[in-house]
């Protein structure tokens, strides 16, 4: 049986959208898939050593379940984003959902390959020393070398 492959393109850097790539990648790796994640644009934030700046905002996020209905005028007040992030993290922990750090570590342990988009690093003038070490830097062509042979390819 040839090894199945999965590629994910991670483009979002918010707490809620950080979960799907790491959950799917760690699960696929556990099922024996060879997995690569290509992090581009805001997805690059998920490669930082320190993930504490990865937040969730109720603003422009009408599908987010809120404990109490909250008008947009209130959501935009200072501190609301931090509060929403704190509440979401508490909820995740309460339900036994792994932290992003843990899921990312599980991916790395399972040999999921992380590729960071070099163009985005240059565009946003990111400092590579702020990213974890297990990252390879490359472009779309490099990613397609792997993605073209995958069984599953997802854009998140």
């Amino acid at each position: 049986m040839t090894t199945k492959k999965m590629a994910i393109i991670a483009t979002k850097g918010t707490l809620d959208m950080a979960y799907p790539p790491f959950i799917l990648a760690s699960t696929a790796a556990a099922l024996g898939y060879d997995v690569q994640i290509f992090f581009t644009f805001y997805g690059l934030q998920l490669l930082r050593k320190d993930l504490s700046d990865v937040k969730i905002s109720p603003l422009a996020n009408p599908a987010m379940p809120m404990p109490v209905p909250m008008p947009v005028m209130v959501q935009m007040l200072p501190g609301m984003e931090s509060m929403a992030t704190m509440m979401m993290k508490q909820k995740l922990a309460k339900h036994g959902v792994a932290s992003l750090e843990e899921l990312r570590d599980l991916c790395l342990e399972a040999d999921v390959k992380f590729i960071a988009c070099q163009m985005t690093v240059d565009l946003f003038e990111f400092d590579k020393s702020e990213f974890i070490d297990n990252v390879e830097y490359g472009g779309a062509s490099m990613f397609f070398g792997f993605a073209g042979e995958t069984d599953i390819c997802l854009f998140v």
Partner: protein, 75 residues
């Protein structure tokens, strides 16, 4: 049922029961049996799917007082 190793995934949500079951199986010998305890009801279907896709054998699935008990035989 006899087993060689136990992994308690109580309180863990998807995908941890599966990902960590895979890790628990890693240092076991072919033919050995892993007992997994989970509280995530999604793990019932996930564990079967894991077995189907990895070639390990899910010997049994039972529920006892809100806990799901799996016996997985390593390929």
């Amino acid at each position: 049922m006899n087993f060689d190793k136990e992994f308690d995934a109580s309180g863990m949500s998807c995908p941890l029961p599966i990902v960590k079951t895979k890790k628990a199986l890693a240092d076991m010998q072919p033919g050995q049996v892993l007992k997994v305890i989970a509280t995530d009801c999604g793990s019932v279907k996930d564990m079967q799917a894991f077995a189907d896709q990895t070639g390990n054998t899910l010997l049994s699935t039972t529920e006892e007082g809100g806990k799901y008990i799996f016996f997985m035989k390593k390929k």
